[in-house]
């Protein structure tokens, strides 16, 4: 089970990223616990300055933009 956090307080891309994570995980049968984090203090604790942020198993993978689906899958697989 990998743990995915989507950091963002309601921007359009944040919702898109969350949806992407659900889709990629479902399509590839990856067991993932996907959470949307909208609390600013918690978002800032990851040190990002742009939303959406993507955290997989505690590591910040990306901030401020959307990954393409294959990169996202790759990150999910390496955990």
């Amino acid at each position: 089970m990998i743990e995915i956090k989507v950091l963002g307080s309601g921007c359009a891309r944040c919702k898109e990223l969350e949806k992407m994570c659900f889709n990629v995980a479902a399509e590839n049968n990856i067991a993932a616990d996907i959470q949307k984090i909208s609390d600013l203090k918690e978002i800032m604790s990851y040190g990002i300055m742009q939303t959406p942020g993507l955290v997989i198993n505690g590591k910040v993978k990306l901030a401020g933009k959307l990954p393409n689906a294959s990169t996202l899958l790759h990150w999910m697989q390496e955990g």
Partner: protein
């Protein structure tokens, strides 16, 4: 990419002939009334502005890959007040920025010890001076106006930030901002290849052009109608030079109006054509693009209400001064 670039130049530099041709074939060129003039304006301006927009957004998309909020923050740390304001304003143009990220960016800056005034210089310049505004001004007014817009925008960002810094308003920042201990991430430090940069350029075009093209078509459409139908000096009484009150009024109307540059500039171009003075129109445009209620609401999360008023007050006053100066010069 080379082919695309060649095609771009071919179309752009022959656009007048092309649209003229369309005009001749459709038989509209023989009609000399205002209806035909409106359509002529429309079918020339829309593709011209869209072509320019695509090119600049692509180039800016690539340039932005060389900048990031993290790098900008690193540059701004431990800079003296005035130099910090200048750098923050200039970097505000190039650093990738979306107003939805204003809060994390604000916290990230303040937490790194960057002075409040310097941080606000960045937050004023970043939305106000954007490539869509620059390109529309260039396309519809010429390069001089684009340069005026950029330089006055920078001036407002630098001076407003500097004044806010001098006023020592740190107490109006929500306390919890200073309590945040954020980790530093190196997510942005990964290596970026040339292909990635070009990819970012395409992504920016897809993202921005798909968002703003409709505004441009509508804006230029309204502009074209007015171009043909509204009398030349229609706006002179309301937004002309002689009406001294028009500058503050334009700013006051402009702040709650929330539009992106793409929608507002084609309309402003018509206001000017119909007798509005440049300073008044410029003030209106800056107030619409640079100061917005949604931005205030977003910033309310980290700034207390008096600070929001001071922030908008100082920037609004700056915009008015610029408006008056231009009304006097031109």
């Amino acid at each position: 990419m080379v082919i695309l670039a060649a095609l771009w130049f071919l179309i752009y530099f022959n656009l007048e002939k092309l649209t003229g041709l369309v005009f001749d074939i459709s038989g509209l060129s023989s009609i000399k009334d205002s209806y035909a003039r409106s359509i002529e304006f429309f079918i020339y301006e829309v593709p011209k502005v869209l072509l320019l927009l695509t090119l600049i957004v692509f180039v800016m998309g690539i340039i932005r890959t060389f900048f990031s909020p993290e790098k900008t923050r690193a540059v701004l740390e431990k800079k003296s007040l005035f130099l910090g304001n200048v750098l923050a304003s200039v970097l505000g143009i190039f650093t990738p920025f979306c107003s939805c990220s204003a809060v994390p960016l604000f916290i990230g800056f303040v937490e790194a010890g960057i002075p409040l005034g310097v941080t606000l210089s960045f937050l004023i310049a970043a939305p106000m001076i954007n490539e869509v505004a620059i390109i529309l001004l260039f396309g519809l007014f010429g390069w001089q106006t684009a340069v005026i817009y950029v330089s006055t925008g920078l001036m407002i960002a630098i001076v407003s930030g500097y004044i806010i810094g001098k006023l020592r308003l740190e107490r109006f920042v929500e306390e919890w901002v200073y309590e945040i201990k954020s980790g530093r991430t190196d997510a942005a430090a990964e290596k970026i290849t040339l292909d990635d940069r070009i990819e970012s350029g395409y992504a920016a075009v897809k993202d921005i052009v798909s968002k703003v093209w409709l505004y441009i078509v509508i804006g230029v459409g309204i502009g074209s109608l007015a171009h043909g139908y509204v009398p030349e000096d229609f706006m002179a009484g309301i937004m002309g030079k002689s009406a001294w009150w028009s500058v503050p009024l334009s700013v006051l109307i402009g702040i709650p109006l929330y539009s992106n540059a793409a929608g507002i500039i084609p309309i402003v171009s018509v206001l000017i054509e119909k007798g509005a003075s440049l300073g008044t129109a410029l003030a209106f445009m800056m107030a619409v693009i640079g100061l917005s209620l949604p931005e205030a609401i977003i910033l309310k999360k980290v700034l207390k209400l008096p600070m929001i008023f001071i922030f908008f007050g100082i920037v609004g006053a700056g915009i008015m001064i610029i408006g008056y100066i231009f009304n006097i010069i031109y």
